[in-house]
């Protein structure tokens, strides 16, 4: 017997450690400097809460945050609902296996292309750009995840449970709400989290499809980045890191069988 050699073990460990270093050094540096009183990325001078105060009192930022939240929540809700309804159609004998292929496109086509084609479509149909168009674009992105993931789980379900419920006297709708949906719930929640975060962080689609009333957080950060370095962004990073850690924790605690991929 020849187990993994000590050398290979150490090499593996070193690689993993340096990968995590690579992932976290920038974030930690950023967090530390969010407390630095000099605005430029100069060496450490002194501790301050100033940037956090400025962050919380910045009106446009929170408006952008609110917009991003609205967009992410709505697109998550719409894509999950549409996905669930499609599954309902499948439980009623609708053959959606082939239609499923339609939704793979959303992930395969580069986001820039999707954004460009949507922008072209909106201007051709003279649809006003705004929150609605952004929600629409993000819903497309969401559907690309929701439908394949939920449908895959749905197919794993024992269809006899569905039949058993019908036989026991439940109508198709009752069956859907009492059996199918509860069984799909863990998958739906994790998928929803995934879609939410993807929408919340999305930059490309927002960049092209944002309208008059829709400054998203990503666009706001971009404008901050472009107009030079501001430690407010550091503070914002800290806040968002905490938020997304919380979401990831929820994601993990669900222990559902949904894989990210």
């Amino acid at each position: 017997m020849k187990p993994i050699t000590a050398l290979a073990r150490t090499a593996n460990l070193t690689l993993v450690a340096s990968t995590y270093l690579f992932l976290y050094v920038p974030l930690i540096v950023l967090l530390v400097f969010s407390f630095n009183s000099t605005p430029f990325p100069a060496p450490w001078t002194s501790f301050t809460w100033r940037w956090y105060h400025e962050l919380f009192s910045s009106g446009p930022l929170w408006e952008a945050f609110r917009n991003s939240l609205i967009i992410a929540l709505s697109s998550t809700f719409i894509s999950i609902t549409a996905g669930a309804l499609l599954i309902f159609y499948a439980t009623q004998g609708g053959r959606i296996g082939k239609a499923l292929v339609l939704f793979y496109g959303n992930l395969i086509i580069p986001e820039v292309v999707l954004a460009v084609s949507l922008l072209g479509f909106f201007s051709l149909a003279s649809i006003p750009l705004g929150l609605a168009t952004l929600i629409l674009a993000h819903t497309l992105l969401g559907l690309g995840f929701v439908i394949p993931l939920i449908y895959a789980r749905f197919q794993e379900l024992d269809h006899r449970l569905h039949e058993a419920s019908l036989v026991l006297g439940a109508t198709p709708l009752q069956t859907f709400f009492k059996v199918t949906l509860p069984l799909l719930r863990p998958t739906m929640i994790t998928t929803a989290l995934l879609v939410f975060i993807i929408s919340f962080d999305d930059f490309v689609l927002s960049y092209f499809c944002a309208g008059s009333s829709a400054q998203t957080l990503s666009l706001y950060i971009l404008s901050m980045l472009r107009s030079g370095i501001s430690p407010i962004v550091n503070a914002l990073t800290a806040i968002l890191l905490i938020l997304s850690s919380a979401l990831v924790l929820i994601f993990f605690s669900l222990r559902s069988r949904t894989k990210l991929f």
Binding site: R160, E163, L166, V167, L168, G169, A170
Partner: protein, 363 residues
């Protein structure tokens, strides 16, 4: 309780006939078994009755009400599935209460009804467990409880015991019979296991691979007097000898080439019975008496050589080679009330049977 009646029911799936024009009346309040080899369409027939499949043509009656087009959930028919299909996200209690809740019963009533039935099934200690925490037999009982709790008129059972081990299966069979006696609900029990069917059924039907019903009758009728070679071969084991029918009018016998003539008994003259027509004779192995000695009082006798002996415990099986190079199976009970003669390999033996115990079938 109303009876189920199928009229010219037909179902094809992807061009293949699964259920072929079946006419069947299932009497109310009886334990009815539907027996057939795997893939013969018996499950499909059950699903047609439940409403899980739509028939191509024909009708299904519950009593005198045509339920062919009625949606599943409106039929007073419940079903127990092969793998139980318990809802994994609901507790035992919730599983059983499922159909009652749908009927909008008051919670207190639901609670007492469910508790009563779970007690009857010895499940009162598992009320709040999830199905995967139960053993197979317990799951089976939960499935049964769930299916009968809202007092359906008909209960369909689709090979409900297939996943259980032999011992447990035997016990569950008894429980099922007792349950049916108590409830007087019409049970339709689908199985490919003849032992189960013969044990539980008041009445049974045999389906063949073409999706047709071969024979309907009580288990005894089916076993003792099969009307076709398919039934004879499928239910139990049997020996088949073919020959031609002679001397119909006075003292009928069957003429088997190389073996001789054997007396037969014709309780009821069938249309196909004609002088000299080819015929099959089926004799159950346990109806044959085997001995090295010559014995009187039997209608027929045949000589042969013991080819092999298989010891089964409660009986012994002898395979006897006949002069025409066919083999005959004989079961002998090992009752050992008296000293039995010892029969060994290659012994010359006599095989005796009464003419009433051989069944004549159309070839």
């Amino acid at each position: 309780m109303r009876s189920i009646q199928l009229k010219k029911l037909k179902k094809t799936l992807q061009g293949e006939v699964i259920v072929d024009t079946i006419d069947l009346k299932i009497p109310s309040g009886k334990f009815f078994a539907l027996l057939g080899p795997s893939g013969c369409g018996k499950t499909t027939l059950l699903r047609l009755i439940a409403g899980l499949e739509q028939a191509d043509s024909g009708q299904i009656f519950l009593g005198d009400r045509d339920i062919t087009g009625i949606p599943i959930h409106e039929r007073p028919i419940n079903m127990v599935f092969q793998n139980y299909a318990l809802f994994p996200h609901l507790t035992v209690f919730e599983n059983v209460a499922y159909s009652l809740k749908l009927k909008k019963m008051p919670p207190a009533t639901i609670k007492s009804v469910v508790q009563k039935i779970l007690e009857a099934f010895n499940l009162e200690n598992h009320l709040y467990k999830l199905p995967h925490q139960l053993s197979g037999g317990q799951q089976q009982r939960v499935a049964l409880a769930r299916a009968i709790v809202d007092e359906p008129e008909v209960l369909l059972l689709d090979e409900p015991l297939a996943a259980l081990d032999f011992k447990l299966r035997e016990r569950m069979l008894i429980e099922l019979i007792e349950l049916q006696d108590k409830l007087k609900t019409t049970f339709i029990y689908v199985t490919h296991d003849q032992f189960e069917a013969l044990t539980v059924a008041d009445q049974m039907a045999i389906m063949n691979l073409d999706g047709q019903i071969e024979q309907i009758g009580t288990p005894k009728e089916i076993y003792e007097f099969p009307t076709s070679s398919f039934v004879a071969k499928f239910v139990g084991t049997t020996n088949i000898l073919s020959g031609s029918l002679t001397n119909l009018e006075t003292d009928p016998y069957i003429d088997i080439p190389q073996l001789g003539r054997f007396k037969v008994h014709i309780p009821q003259r069938k249309d196909w019975m004609k002088e000299g027509c080819p015929v099959i004779m089926s004799i159950r192995p346990e109806k044959i008496f085997i001995s090295k000695k010559e014995v009187q009082n039997f209608s027929n006798v045949l000589k042969g050589t013991v080819h092999s002996i298989v010891y089964h415990g409660r009986s012994t099986q002898y395979n006897v080679m006949l002069p025409n190079k066919t083999r005959l199976q004989v079961f002998e009970q090992n009752e050992e009330h008296f000293t039995q003669e010892v029969i060994d390999y290659d012994n010359e033996v006599y095989l005796y049977w009464q003419k009433e115990n051989a069944v004549l079938l159309e070839k």
